[in-house]
Amino acid sequence: MKAVLKINGTEVPVKFDFDEHLLQTLRNHGFTEVKNGCEEGECGACLVLLNGKPVNSCQVFTATAIGDEITTVKGIGTLHQPHIIQECFVEAGAVQCGFCTPGMVLATYALLQDNPDPSDDEIKRALSGNLCRCTGYVKIIDAVKRSARKMKIT
């Protein structure tokens, strides 16, 4: 199948199979910042924002995302112009292997859009679809709190 997807604000022509999921399509078209950790909806490495809401791209058929706004981690900040959340993950030491980080950053972004001042509990609940095997989450939670503080100031 062929379609045009809206990815990070740009229209991207894509080719994909009938039962292909968005994760695969994104990766096949160069959006390798979206990671594959399980393909079963459990790990959150493949997390993207679909119309601003976090979803597991491995659980979304590409065919159903036509017309939707898709945001990957590069859509919120880049190496040369990082988002505050990305900087805060760095400062907090929340990035070890970094395989979970794009998903974590996007989950944080979505949370802070809805709730700029989340409690610890709300943070943990928001990240309930993101597995990290490296950090034990301590510094990730710290990174989310830092982000909330900094985003309020700016």
Binding site: D17, R27, G30, T32, E33, V34, K35, N36, G37, C38, E39, E40, E42, C43, A45, T72, V73, K74, G77, T78, L79, P82, Q86, E87, F89, V90, E91, G93, V95, Q96, C97, G98, F99, C100, T101, P102, V105, D121, I123, K124, R125, L127, S128, G129, N130, L131, C132, R133, C134, T135, G136, Y137, V138, K139, I140, I141
Partner: protein
């Protein structure tokens, strides 16, 4: 404590912004044209003989390029364990065999133009299996009528005991003193058996490899590995392809924890590329990772100790039975570490005997996993001393403090037992264990909670303590190296074989170099783990990188510094002793003159007596100074359902000088999180026939943020005089704490001990129920 400018600072991890913005590339993020995709066909039977394979239908499919199996591949015996040469693990594996030794052993591999075609073709492979009676119980593996897994042509590459005809993958035995003497001196004996279970590393990035020929006809292997140099050696051997024509590159790796210290996919991809002259990709799915990669070895430990009423231990006898699974990867060394990393901690014991045996079974293959045997050993020992102290009404923390090894002391075990073979005598130069224990007791409010069984409705609380040590590399075996050169803006290229798998070793090694050179971290340009570009390193295992590579880097930087000073002297016309290096400059205090690094290098390159400021150095170590660790857990148990919750977990580590405290803490936090889940929810569940049932994250449960207890982690610094700037290791040790601390806390809460980990609610429920019946 020494005064450092960069060492000891929580500098930002140098690759972290690139990772957080999704720029960094992992193996599967590299784009290759004309890529061939593979799908492995696994044995559904725990033990079977392949009578025949019919691949004709698969081969006939459009887009299928090849099918590999035992009939068309070379049978070169090797081990997949990524260890130094000659590997201490037995040579018992070939790429494709006609005997399937566990459900998940590989029968064939499809090579196709797309992953979809490969997956479809995998269903068109018809294997004629003769199903055999599997061996699923390690306890009976050595019995005369047990099924035999391996032929006697399998062999060990080093002179160690290896008897495949008895399913014995490894055996170690050491002892000193006299057990019967110890028995007669004892007032009583404590004798228990503890079980450590299977566990999966669950690095979020699955095992991945890509291979291709570069424009010079050299085979490039881009792989998610902890051991790039061992990959090069093993692939060269198995594929009979010249080592000089292989280049291994490790890009960013999404976690390893030991799981990627295994060379079992690279040779397959290499075979395809060599044969078809086309790039090849193998990326495992999550179920494949669970089932067919490596695991934590289950170990049954029987511990017997004789004790006097005063608390003195008169003897210790440890009998460890390790289930190696279908192949003997790390079977000897993990086994050795069950004793070697555990027994020296209690070095006052005069009569000691350790017998370890690793046996083959038709179950998933064990391998390296953070903790590497020490985890399994400490699970037993920490519970055992808790039992002793309870029996004698002794204060457990004080008992540990009285009995553990101290600065200036040694243990006979160090010499008697190394990693597989004899060890190396060593003395302790640094030990902050007492401070670690005190911190953990204080933070958990030990004396107000221990034995108090604080109750709230159906729920009751308890606290537990555990201690551990580990090593810092394998003495007399591990070697690491670094090379550096200087650029005219005062920056340095730092090239190392060391393998950063998310641990931050690129960063801390750069910190070490920057400290030695009195320059800034951003002056270090790090290149690591590329067998063409960087000098040799054994890789990321045995908690060796900070200590051994760190020493190599420091030594290399010191050589660079000498050259810098020499050039500065020429520029400043100074005499030898007056120069000091500070803030990226060399200062002659007497003449009150200085010259910057940038000026120095520019001079060396362009002005006079031109040469490249460059050096390389390697290190090989004679000791392995142990880091020390203590932790306390507070648990709450629902006495009606057996549900358990860890409320708080406190850890403290003495890792010598922490090069980067934030990263050191992160290592402990990650290890502890893994350890808690290993104690509570992570387990392999098999069918009666030996098939793994729960091979996905839906059923093998690892924690998310909301599952974490309140965590307190402290790095207690000591100074290890043999370490780079006083450092020891920190990567593995934390995982040894949770299982025994939680087991002890469960006992504290409900007065029932569960000897079989993990401590799932149904087990606690049954234990409570049977205790009430008594």
């Amino acid at each position: 404590m020494k005064n450092y400018t960069i060492v000891g600072k929580s500098e930002k991890k140098i690759d972290s912004l690139s990772l957080a913005t999704g720029e960094s590339k992992f193996v599967d993020d590299f784009e290759l044209k004309n890529l061939l995709h593979c799908k492995i066909v696994y044995s559904p039977y725990a033990f079977a003989k392949i009578l025949d394979i019919d691949d004709s239908e698969a081969r006939a499919m459009t887009g299928v390029i090849d099918v590999l199996h035992f009939k068309n591949t070379k049978h070169i015996l090797h081990t997949t364990a990524g260890q130094g040469f000659p590997e201490p693990s037995p040579y018992d594996t070939v790429m494709f065999d006609h005997i399937m030794r566990f459900a998940g052993d590989r029968a064939a591999m499809i090579v196709a133009e797309s992953p979809v075609i490969a997956a479809r073709a995998a269903k068109k492979i018809f294997v004629d299996y003769q199903v055999l009676q599997p061996l699923l119980d390690p306890e009976i593996a050595m019995e005369p009528d047990a099924p035999r897994l391996h032929d006697s042509n399998r062999y060990a590459a080093i002179p160690v005991k290896y008897e495949p005809e008895r399913n014995l993958a490894a055996e170690v035995e050491i002892g000193f003193g006299d057990i019967s003497q110890g028995e007669s001196e004892a007032d009583f004996m404590i004798d228990h058996t503890y079980h450590a279970h299977y566990g999966s590393h669950c690095a979020i990035e699955p095992h991945s490899v890509k291979t291709y020929f570069d424009e010079m006809g050299r085979l490039v292997i881009v792989t998610a590995t902890q051991v790039p140099f061992h990959v090069r050696r093993i692939v060269s051997k198995v594929c009979q392809f010249p080592l000089s024509k292989i280049r291994v590159i490790k890009p960013r790796v999404g976690g390893g924890f030991g799981g990627k210290q295994e060379v079992f996919l690279e040779q397959l991809a290499a075979t395809v590329t060599i044969k078809h002259k086309q790039p090849c990709r193998i990326v495992l799915t999550r179920p494949e990772v669970f089932q067919s990669s490596r695991t934590r070895h289950p170990v049954r430990t029987r511990l017997r100790m004789g004790v006097k009423n005063t608390g003195e231990i008169t003897f210790l006898e440890m009998d460890s039975l390790l289930n190696s699974g279908a192949y003997g990867t790390h079977a000897l060394t993990v086994l050795s570490n069950c004793g070697a990393k555990v027994l020296p901690l209690f070095n006052k014991i005069k009569n000691l005997h350790f017998l370890g045996r690793s046996v083959y079974t038709n179950l998933p293959v064990g391998g390296a996993y953070r903790g590497y045997g020490a985890t399994q050993g400490y699970l037993a020992v920490n519970q055992h001393i808790d039992i002793i102290c309870r029996r004698l009404h002794l204060d457990l923390p004080q008992f540990i403090k009285d009995n553990h090894i101290k600065v200036g002391e040694t243990s006979e075990v160090f010499k008697a037992l190394g990693e597989g073979t004899e060890g190396v005598t060593q003395y302790i130069h640094s030990c902050g264990l007492d401070e670690c224990i005190d911190y953990c007791l204080h933070e958990i409010d030990w004396y107000n909670k221990r034995d108090k069984k604080i109750r709230k409705g159906d729920r009751v609380r308890g606290v537990g303590l555990s201690v551990a040590m580990q090593g810092s590399g394998i003495p007399m075996i591990d070697m690491a190296s670094a090379s550096m050169k200087m650029n005219e803006d005062g920056s340095f290229n730092l090239d190392m074989g060391a393998t950063d798998i998310g641990t931050g070793s690129d960063t801390i090694l750069a910190q070490i170099a920057a400290e030695e050179l009195s320059t800034n971290l951003d002056k270090m340009i790090v290149c690591s783990s590329d067998t063409d570009r960087t000098p040799f390193d054994v890789g990321a295992y045995a908690s060796s990188t900070t200590y051994i590579t760190g020493r190599a880097v420091k030594k290399c930087a010191a050589k660079i510094k000498e050259q810098i000073i020499q050039v500065a002297r020429e520029i400043l016309s100074s005499s030898a002793n007056e120069l000091i290096v500070q803030n990226s400059a060399v200062i002659d205090e007497k003449q009150n003159k200085s010259v910057t690094f940038s000026e120095i290098c520019t001079y060396a390159i362009y002005t006079r007596n031109q040469f490249q400021i460059a050096a390389s150095a390697s290190e090989f170590v004679e000791e392995s100074p142990p880091p020390f660790f203590a932790s306390t857990a507070e648990v709450e148990i629902d006495t009606k359902t057996g549900d358990i919750k860890v409320l708080k977990y406190v850890s403290a580590v003495d890792c010598g000088q922490a090069i980067n405290p934030q990263l050191a803490e992160g290592q402990i936090e990650g290890a502890v999180a893994n350890g808690i889940a290993y104690a509570l929810t992570e387990q392999y569940i098999f069918s009666d026939k030996g098939n793994l049932i729960n091979k996905n994250f839906k059923t093998y449960k690892i924690p998310v943020a909301a599952d974490m207890p309140e965590m307190k982690t402290k790095v207690i610094e000591s100074h290890e005089k043999t370490g780079p700037f006083g450092a020891k290791s920190v990567g593995e040790i934390g995982i040894n704490g949770p299982t025994p601390a939680i087991a002890n806390a469960i006992y504290d809460a409900i007065g029932v001990r569960i000897f079989d980990a993990p401590f799932t609610s149904d087990k606690i429920y049954r234990a409570l129920k049977s205790a009430l019946k008594l």
